[in-house]
Symmetry: C2
Subunit: 224 residues, 2 copies
Amino acid sequence: MPTSESVDDYLRAILELSGKSEERVSSNGLATRLGVRAASVTGMLQKLAAQRPPLVLYEKHRGVRLSAAGMRRAWEIVRHHRLLELFLHDVLKYSWDEVHEEAERLEHFISERFEDRVAAILGDPEVDPHGHVIPHRNGTIPVREEVPLVEWPIGKPAVLSSVSDRDPAALRELQRLGLVPGSGLVVDESKPNASLLVRLSGQKRQIRLSIELALHVAVDASRI
Amino acid sequence: MPTSESVDDYLRAILELSGKSEERVSSNGLATRLGVRAASVTGMLQKLAAQRPPLVLYEKHRGVRLSAAGMRRAWEIVRHHRLLELFLHDVLKYSWDEVHEEAERLEHFISERFEDRVAAILGDPEVDPHGHVIPHRNGTIPVREEVPLVEWPIGKPAVLSSVSDRDPAALRELQRLGLVPGSGLVVDESKPNASLLVRLSGQKRQIRLSIELALHVAVDASRI
DNA sequence: GCACTAATTTAGGCTAGCCTAAAAAATTCT
DNA sequence: AGAATTTTTTAGGCTAGCCTAAATTAGTGC
């Protein structure tokens, strides 16, 4: 069961689109995320489902979800991705918004040895530069309770937990505003579908965040 | 002119088979080196020659050589390869014989930024762990006069300049014997097509080297 | 429940890069 | 030189993964 670059991309996309829930993922959603046509997705899903063991569970017109084997491979790629992001940031001095693209390319090609050596150099880190947990070598995934910032109650102190890594411009903006993992903050005001007013811990200045930008941010839900 | 992994492999193989000279490289030689059939080589050479600008100069039945553009790309890949080898060895603590395989895979996928950052971390190094010169960023290649050990005169002190990186078992053996770049040595005896007797500087013990192993070794010819 | 729309799948094609088998050219041997 | 051998090229196929266009299924409003 050696997987190709494309297969890895599909598996990771399914994992990430299905969120933490067991939801089935739609062909269209995958097509958009992967930048291919829906017809191509259908073809690939049929192939992945036909593998032995199957990498996905697929019923036509009913979406797809990962099998146990698919799940394992997807998290493996995520581990590669997040270790690489941290490595690029900490060792090769990439900036916050540069790491994603390079990690996305390299994640498919590094060996187990590379993975292990990088993890060792970084001291078996728990999270990547965007605050996402790094799956363990053995496949277990540390649990982290997170809530999208836009769903966080007004007035309740929160700790910024992670930011999406897929949009460099948004990342630069968040960094400029001081919204990085670990930042303490309070939401002062929330206009649904418009914007949020947040304050960073110990600062008086309010920051206005567009919903679009706020959607990139999650806070630590274990601190409720 | 974005090049694929395959194209890069062909260009690098042509570069390395043509030696320093202007020799044309044969289809068979390429096929063997690349692990594909000769018919596949012919097909690829025709494509490379048909590109604008052409990456190779190819006349059927008469072998192939790199064009200026092909040369540029091939050396670029070599720079990637050698920087990666040194990086894997020095930073990620890979052993001498492990670096080649990983570098061979990754050389196709690292960005210019990655290349630059790695070079910076390593202090713009001149040579890789096997003693091969690292081409400069701008495409110039430092000159190094080398002679295969088997052609070095008997009794004349020499400095080991480089070893081939393609055979892990040979590398381990050479390392065990203390034959690493920088080692001083003298050839005491040379039986053509059989073996060499060499002595390391300051050691009395003679080392018997099979021709096969000796062919992996080159010495610094500027010290004649 | 039926008509309309949106989502999905099927059918048929394309390219890159490999393959085998057969043809052609070059080289070597006598 | 001519025959035998080796090298190289041509011809025709295959797979992965993408595409477009057309057909089908699902979902929605009336």
